[in-house]
Symmetry: C2
DNA sequence: ATACTTGCAAAGCCTTTGCAGATCT
DNA sequence: AGATCTGCAAAGGCTTTGCAAGTAT
């Protein structure tokens, strides 16, 4: 499943308008992230800047390999640094590590009120976001009350075979993964 | 977070009656699992038998380490065998590998119509089941239709700080994990 | 000036695999 | 007999860390 590790292509926005919007949103996130860094007394370094830029403009979880492999980040710093930057960002509450379907952790930016759920292809490992209303948010409170947990959040992942993989053989459950996407 | 790796204690049923019920359900699952194995022409070996017994009576995901460490399984076979047995069971559709909050995969038995959602403590790593109605099942179809995926399933995990960890220091986000439970 | 960051290289942690011998059907 | 399993030991893949040098404040 090499594909999972390679840089995930950012989905092409449907229109120029949508592209503008996505860019604006990315800029907004980036600004927020810088602000939080400042408040957390994290120094502004090239590595952090590049990583935050990437995360802010990427609407899906990224692995360490994805990040380290991304051209601009790779040109700026070492993979170990990427790891440590993410670690710091996590401590600062900017980033969260989640586990989807691989041994490798995925990282997401925790922009406020920006919860997303994902769909993963069990064939090729592609990750997309559902773009559906998430029905679980309100359940969190209930879980907390019944079991006594606090500071609750959730992660919801859908797993299935994507259209591309459906056309290729050898992609089914338990079989070896294909590399279509 | 050593606790995650050690054998997870099976929750004490509230009453003798509940205990009986849980046992009966475990037996039912075990019978089903054996049946599927037979149909899949998987040989009946001590290792498989022990592992299936454990999974059938355990209502929460178990890691390789948990399984390999369990007394009866450890006495029966080698960790590499546990790994391979689980691999085979996964291919046969009896077991699924899921990723919760650690690099290590968790394994669950896929007893039909037995979907569960979990709550994980970000402090100590404890895993419980929510015992709440899962509202996501019906969303699966929608996700499939919109994005063209087939053979969809989902995994939903809640993350928070459990009651035990709330009493201990150093358990908060980004901090080092405690070992209370 | 000094505390935080980074690169490089090495260490770790678990999973995963090869192979020869044991087992199940 | 013949295909499957298993143990042991070694290989792998990625994350994680130590240390000395570099850099932001």
């Amino acid at each position: 499943m090499k594909q999972t590790r390679a840089a995930l292509p950012v989905a092409e926005p449907a229109s120029a308008k949508a592209a503008d919007k996505a860019l604006a949103r990315g800029a907004e996130k980036l600004e927020w992230a810088r602000q939080v860094c400042r408040e957390g007394h994290l120094r502004r370094t090239p590595a952090r800047e590049e990583i935050l830029q990437f995360l802010a403009h990427q609407d899906r979880p990224a692995t360490l390999a994805t990040l380290s492999g991304e051209r601009r980040i790779a040109a700026t710093c070492d993979p170990a640094t990427v790891f440590r930057v993410l670690q710091k960002l996590e401590e600062a509450g900017l980033v969260r590590r989640i586990w989807l379907h691989e041994r490798a952790p995925y990282y997401i930016l925790l922009f406020p009120h920006d919860h997303r759920d994902y769909v993963l292809c069990t064939g090729c490992g592609k990750v997309e976001e559902t773009r559906l209303e998430c029905p679980v948010q309100k359940l969190e409170k209930e879980v907390g009350e019944r079991l006594g947990y606090i500071e609750i959040h959730h992660e919801l992942g859908f797993y299935g075979v994507c259209p591309d993989c459906q056309e290729k053989p050898g992609t089914r459950r338990g079989g070896k993964k294909s590399s279509c996407c």
